[in-house]
Symmetry: C2
Subunit: 218 residues, 2 copies
Amino acid sequence: MAQEKADAKQRLIEAALKVFGEHGFKGASTRAIAGEAGANIAAIPYYFGGKEGLYLAVAGHIADQITGRMGPGLSAAAQLAGNPATTIEQRRQALLALGDGFVSMLVGTEEAALWARFMVREQFDPTEAFDVLYNRVMGPSYVAISPLLGPLLGLPADSEELKLRIFSVIGQALVFRVARAAILRRLEWDAYTPERLEQIRAALRANIIAIMDAGRPA
Amino acid sequence: MAQEKADAKQRLIEAALKVFGEHGFKGASTRAIAGEAGANIAAIPYYFGGKEGLYLAVAGHIADQITGRMGPGLSAAAQLAGNPATTIEQRRQALLALGDGFVSMLVGTEEAALWARFMVREQFDPTEAFDVLYNRVMGPSYVAISPLLGPLLGLPADSEELKLRIFSVIGQALVFRVARAAILRRLEWDAYTPERLEQIRAALRANIIAIMDAGRPA
DNA sequence: GTCTATAGTCGGATAGAC
DNA sequence: GTCTATCCGACTATAGAC
């Protein structure tokens, strides 16, 4: 009984992440999910109460995974940002590190493609799952960036301008998942590799440095 | 016979854009599409040969619409960029104008939400429709930006660094569609209004100016 | 906890009237 | 060119055996 396979419940969640992402809630069939998971169709009503319960469980799973990977970095950034003794240069470095970590997680791992696909769907047509993702993932990420970039741009933490500019910066990384097919085609790449990932991080750093340093007193 | 209703074929395409976007290809039912269009289900095999043909027709429709709105601006930018007499300052202004136009189109119109939803789906799981969208929309847009930003950053037009940094910049605008729900929640907005649209354009301009001007000789 | 069998509904496509 | 009627396969959920 070498634990080579997770239990049926966990396998169903991972299969559902893939199939819901491919076909949406309506388009995903419980047959396909159960088949992918190597489980019985009847296990879905049994464990999750039905198709909808499984969908929500997928959102929780995504939040768990991302929190596990980004959590430590975000906490460190928040602590550093909250300390009045933190210098401008330390904020710059922390922001760049956050960007690197975000790209590594988002673009550099295969699972993140599945998380992103599911999350983007929820952005266009939010359901109950969006609340889970916003409260546990998107909100906390934003909150970590705000007190770092605000002082660098000379903008108050609660100003709409700062919020918009932060989302714009986040978009610079997000695009590598959300427009992946177009980017690969333009670059004549077949996939992201570790070397290419570093090129992406470098391009993003260059843009972030430009934005941060434009806020400096001339 | 005041032309208050387009013909059934056109109505089906517009209904399909909405329903395919909501539920994906599999999840969208031809019944729902026909119902939304006020047309008969049998009209879909009749006009488009089947569900797939209708899906492809939607891609063509999106390309037509976006080309109609962005085409003139892109042509003007391309002509200006190709002229060796064009100054750096003119390139800066052209790039900012392109950004403004892109945000106005993408974020400022209701239909663009439908186009974006359909196109993002194709980015994650490309089908034949992606070729249509890439060749007619995404490719040409990129090509217009490249010869404007390249000289400003001192990067050759075919360098991978330039390509990556351009996509990163595009992401700054894209995010306002792709993370719309999260952005509205963070800003405590219920929708984008014309005033808020101008705030978005301003935030984007600030970031683009920072990126452009960081490439200037110190 | 996992299976088979089945109920009841909805799916896309077609045939053929008008 | 638009309709109704219909075929047949796929869907989710449940009941009940093991």
